[in-house]
Symmetry: C2
Amino acid sequence: MKKNLGATNALYPMPIVVVGTEVNGKANYNAIAHVGIIDHKTLSISMGKIHYSNQGIKEHKTLSINITAEDMVEEMDHVGKVSGAKEDKSQIFNSVYGELKGAPMIENAPVSMECEVIDIYDQPEFDVFIVKVVNTYADEAVLTDGKIDFAKVKPVLFDMPKFGYWKLGPRAERK
Amino acid sequence: MKKNLGATNALYPMPIVVVGTEVNGKANYNAIAHVGIIDHKTLSISMGKIHYSNQGIKEHKTLSINITAEDMVEEMDHVGKVSGAKEDKSQIFNSVYGELKGAPMIENAPVSMECEVIDIYDQPEFDVFIVKVVNTYADEAVLTDGKIDFAKVKPVLFDMPKFGYWKLGPRAERK
């Protein structure tokens, strides 16, 4: 028996990532699950206009996307709850840089992508940053045959209805 | 030690959903993992322009998004691999309709959303359908305290690097 819940977003669980930016000359991090895939190398990162990170992204036209591993959940949760306007979050993670300015990456994240912002899909309350992946850095420990192996990454997923985090389970095999 | 994999999309695993459309008067289904969240009630569904479904979506300006449960993985995999131009996929699932024309939903999916297309974010090879959720139907068996409980939904996730499906694991608690 189905129940109509009205207009409820049920597109979960989603990977929750830590977005790295540089605001007022300092690294800043925020946790975002309102993400998406536009095409094979183009992603979307939707961030409320109220966020502190957005001004840094607009200034540098770059950001990093760091996949959250299970052992980073506490720091990820923290940077998602406290605004950079109230707290200097530059020391929560060790930052490393690739070839793009303004896109600090988390040293101990299993996988990080440095990205260029190619467009903003403007919504009333959200800046939806449309980004091209420029480089993807993966810890060799999470690769199998040269490819990212999510069983080794141990990513964290998020769902809004229960507002919680999830681990990845085993492979879902066909019958 | 990090390795630079070049411009590789590592934003996975993503929920893989079955998109319901009506093409040439018949229900049609396709499996899509290039999805995203734009804002709380707005989603993105990116579909290669080559797909048969796209013409139905453009005609009706509607579609459904059906969350894939573990026990639907075989059918989901099938509708994702075979084009509606080559096979009539209208009988793979039992279809039910809500209030929108052109948006058949899968009767035994644990959760289905019927959606209106409000925009197409046009990419060279992809139609990125920007959709508003109109109604969300959930099986009462997957609700806890009236909210969708993904431990009961048992959704299927997808990753491109290993091209496989995953089950959801347990909650990731903070330390």
